[in-house]
Symmetry: C2
Subunit: 334 residues, 2 copies
């Protein structure tokens, strides 16, 4: 097919079919993938989890991944965060006229690999082409269906005073990697995005304890935003121990230099897990044994005090409020 | 909240929450709509249908609807075309910086109304904001889950020689309405988009016959593209009777003036139904009694001859091939 994507590829005719067949069907093929209007799927005998996420990251490729990998991880992680095993994904592309066919193939290949790793099938898709300068290269929206085990019931509303806060790895690498991928940014550092599919971590944690109250993936707003959301939804406070929060040295250096709070840098492969105090070490050990969980740590606890707020205890014992998440940190980070 | 959407509304913090709460939650509220990472849903005891569709139409508002209405109709119609009752929808927005908050509210309101009419619940969403001139106003991707009755088995591959071809209403009004909505277009005519949710038509048709082989909604590629796809997938020909194809006078006039083939103008509220010959009149009558089906007509038949092609029989008895769908007719039509 042609080397670049043209408006014809989005018109729904012959060129659209060629694009879908040669790039997407070739990469995603499985027995459930459909060319009809909807995929027909076996229904799990369990509650369904259903989610959607749009990805508009610029640049589309970054150290440690690309928008294709990200679009699979984001949605399987949203399912896993509700304790659901990811089963089926849909993928919808908006491609800008002029995008290189070879780049689109690279994105599709990353999606295929990540979906395989996550144990999920891409079953249906859609492709549109937008005019020049109207879609920042490529936008991808994935939606996912998962099945929830009978005894699992997680929510951002369920955190309780006394619970421990676990982070499943070092924070902020995705945000830092995107920053460094931008042409107009003159710092260089060796930082790989943490972007990863996390179902196995959630599964290991849920097998290790019946007392997990909340799992959330820290995406564009970072760990700080997730904790503020949980504190507000559960009407509790969160207290963090600064020295326990795992941060890669180069991320720490970059954020210090730029005056950014690493708790507000995006992650794309990190869960925040809120678990009853007595089970915290069991869950920590289970997470550490799962893929992408080796740097997990208990970083704080849920409190009765300071409802709706996140408090940071520093190395020297002082306590300060983490500033509430506000406006824009990094545009188009995920 | 602010009168215009800013990049802050997409950063995942306070402004994002305000946008989601005040516009989307307010419009879509129902007992299953979630603020967690995924909605948790009762599983139907039936096969699932799952589909996704992206909407990038420009302008976002047109005669007879807007991109919000379109984004609900497109996805419920894809489910209904597989014989599935639409149950749950996800909605993902990419909004361009500078878009008016009031316009976004108008879009959300249209989505709410159309979802109610279609009997489907919006259960989960996502919102991203793209930089100025990077998303053509607003892009919406909806995904949907439906349940398929035990005895329903439809596919573009199942058309058989002798089957009749039904169109559920007059063709091409959506494409014509979009054309007329564009500022750079100096013709005026009173054409309303056909955009509509069609589950009740599919349900009525499937209740009237066990011999329906294919239902497809004619979207951006029009009825011509759908028929070429069915002819190719089922390895049959399709023969159309030109004089039987319902077309509103003003659409006919517009296409004649512009030299467009109305069979390739987009529809967003029309099914092509392929049904065994003996049941064709029953199905036609059932469709005519359903909402949006009053102008339905039998427009042709499936043939052994001319496999993979669509033949048009004119009023004076001559037969010609309908040109195969090719490149771009109208960019960003849906």
């Amino acid at each position: 097919m042609k080397d670049i994507i043209t408006l014809n590829h989005g018109a729904g005719g012959r060129d659209t079919n060629e694009l879908i067949r040669e790039i997407f069907f070739d990469a995603f093929k499985n027995e459930l993938l459909t060319a009809d209007d909807a995929a027909i799927l076996p229904s799990p005998n369990a509650k369904l989890a259903f989610t959607t996420d749009g990805f508009i990251v610029s640049p589309w490729k970054f150290s440690g991944g690309n928008i294709g990998k990200l679009s699979i991880c984001g949605t399987v992680n949203d399912l896993a965060a509700m304790g659901a095993k990811p089963l089926y994904l849909s993928v919808a592309f908006v491609i800008e006229e002029g995008f290189l066919t070879a780049d689109l193939k690279e994105i599709a290949l990353a999606m295929k690999k990540t979906a395989e790793e996550a144990g999920v099938k891409i079953v249906v898709g859609d492709t549109k082409v937008a005019g020049k300068n109207q879609a920042g290269g490529v936008f991808i929206t994935t939606s996912g269906i998962g099945e929830v085990s009978e005894n699992v019931n997680l929510s951002g509303k369920f955190a309780k005073a006394g619970d421990k806060i676990i982070i499943t790895g070092d924070i902020g690498r995705h945000g830092a990697a995107i920053l460094l991928s931008r042409d107009n940014f003159s710092v260089s550092a060796n930082i790989l995005s943490d972007c990863a599919p996390l179902y196995k971590i959630a599964d290991a944690a849920l097998n290790a304890s019946n007392n997990i109250h909340t799992i959330r993936d820290a995406t564009r707003g970072g760990v700080g935003t997730v904790l503020y959301e949980i504190a507000e939804a559960s009407k509790v406070g969160a207290k963090l121990y600064r020295e326990n929060i795992p941060i890669q040295g180069e991320v720490k250096g970059l954020t210090a230099m730029l005056g950014l709070e690493p708790l507000y840098l995006a992650c794309e492969g990190r869960f925040v897990i809120i678990v009853g105090e007595n089970d915290a070490n069991n869950v920590l050990n289970a997470v550490k044994s799962a893929p992408y969980g080796e740097n997990a740590a208990i970083i704080g606890e849920i409190t009765d005090e300071h409802s709706g707020k996140v408090v940071m205890k520093t190395e020297i014992g002082t306590e300060t409020f983490l500033p509430a998440p506000g406006g824009e940190l990094l545009p188009r980070i995920c």
